[in-house]
């Protein structure tokens, strides 16, 4: 149980010891008095994070929130998309945001200006969010005005297409974004971000006339890696494609309310 509120998360100092130790005491007396011993552990290094992620998911489920983890390179337009999404869904869906960055409160300030509960996690150098940071972040978010009533939680990960892919935060859906100026080769070059995601968003499509970004090629590469990916293209600036994105979010929230999303 969590020390902060009694949510299902293990407390910060507890560790999941699900590895079975093979305590066979073979003492090969090699030289002098050295007693060496080999211990079979067979434990995943992801186990501690995964246990916390599972607890986070239970916590989100308890409060009835759908959680989305947004992963992309820096500058792909995650925060701008959130600003537009908040404006579009105002009065319809109650949104909360956890912002992840290495430094500064800038993104949180932008989101706060939109009038929704938000907290900023600054990792101080770490290139990704993990389940423990998300756990603390969600508790902080719940103390913000409006933080008790969230239908849709966005967790904006640190801008990085590599490291965040490895860490489950407890989200229900993972969304990977690639903006047009980045080029269409991102799925091929950073496969883990696409194999671990549910949804792939091509952003800044208003810039398509100025860049060589064949959308079908990028989407095709991503689907080869992960045929189950849902794919969308949009521009936060012109609003093109936004309705498909908003309908996807509406459907997630409706599924959550109907108990179809665990």
């Amino acid at each position: 149980m969590c020390d902060t509120c009694g949510c299902p998360s293990p407390s910060d100092h507890s560790h999941e010891h699900d590895h079975d130790h093979n305590h066979d005491h073979d003492h090969p007396h090699k030289s002098g008095h050295s007693h060496t011993k080999t211990v079979d552990v067979h434990a995943s290094l992801f186990a501690a994070n995964d246990a916390l992620a599972k607890a986070n998911r239970e916590h989100f489920n308890e409060v009835g929130a759908v959680a989305l983890n947004l992963i992309s390179s820096p500058g792909s337009g995650k925060t701008t998309l959130l600003e537009q999404t908040i404006d579009a869904l105002k009065g319809e869906i109650r949104i909360g945001v956890i912002e992840g960055d290495i430094e500064t409160e800038r993104d949180a300030l932008r989101i706060r200006a939109k009038g929704v509960p938000v907290i900023q996690l600054t990792t101080g150098g770490a290139c990704h969010l993990d389940a423990a940071m998300t756990h603390k972040g969600f508790h902080r978010l719940q103390k913000e005005p409006g933080g008790q009533n969230i239908d849709l939680l966005f967790i904006e990960n640190v801008g990085n297409l590599v490291c965040p892919s490895t860490f489950d935060l407890g989200e229900h859906e993972r969304v990977v974004l690639v903006s047009v100026p980045e080029g269409p080769d991102k799925p091929a070059k950073y496969p883990k971000a696409f194999t671990s995601s549910h949804t792939f968003l091509v952003t800044k499509t208003d810039l398509l006339p100025y860049f060589d970004f064949p959308v079908p090629e990028a989407v095709g590469d991503a689907l080869h890696l992960n045929p189950k990916l849902r794919t969308m293209s949009l521009s936060s600036k012109t609003g093109d494609g936004m309705e498909t994105w908003l309908n996807y979010l509406r459907e997630l929230v409706a599924n959550k309310k109907a108990g179809k999303l665990k």
Binding site: K37, T38, V39, V41, H42, S44, F167, P191
Partner: protein, 115 residues
């Protein structure tokens, strides 16, 4: 470099294992690093060297890395490929680029030798 945080988690686990086994020195650590787990072996080694040099318990310990094979099933022709290296671009038999992997996505501490 998320490998550094993963190594920090490993070191914590090694300290606990050493304490449980009344060991004062880790001699070797055997890891299984799946080719699809998102961890770069060289970066993991680099992180291990840096962090272990700061910890008396682990200083000088050998890091042994096993790379498991991944079983890919081609969505086109159904052929099965068993590969230990990076993910192939396409099926060598029919060139279909969609291959369904099984395994190779975990990072496992297999064995620890200590004294």
């Amino acid at each position: 470099m998320h490998e550094i945080s993963l190594v920090q988690g490993l070191v914590q686990q090694l300290k606990e294992l050493a304490a449980e086994n009344q060991a004062t020195k880790i001699i070797s650590v055997t890891m299984e690093i799946g080719p699809l787990c998102g961890v770069v072996v060289d970066s993991f080694r680099f992180g291990f060297d840096i962090i272990s040099s700061e910890e008396e318990l682990i200083r000088g310990a050998e890091l042994i890395v096993n790379i498991p094979t991944v079983r890919y099933t081609c969505s086109g022709c159904g052929d099965v490929l068993v590969i230990a290296g990076p993910r192939p671009d396409s099926c060598p038999a029919c060139q279909d680029p969609t291959l369904f992997p099984e395994g190779g996505d975990d990072l496992i501490l297999l064995q620890v030798e200590m004294e």
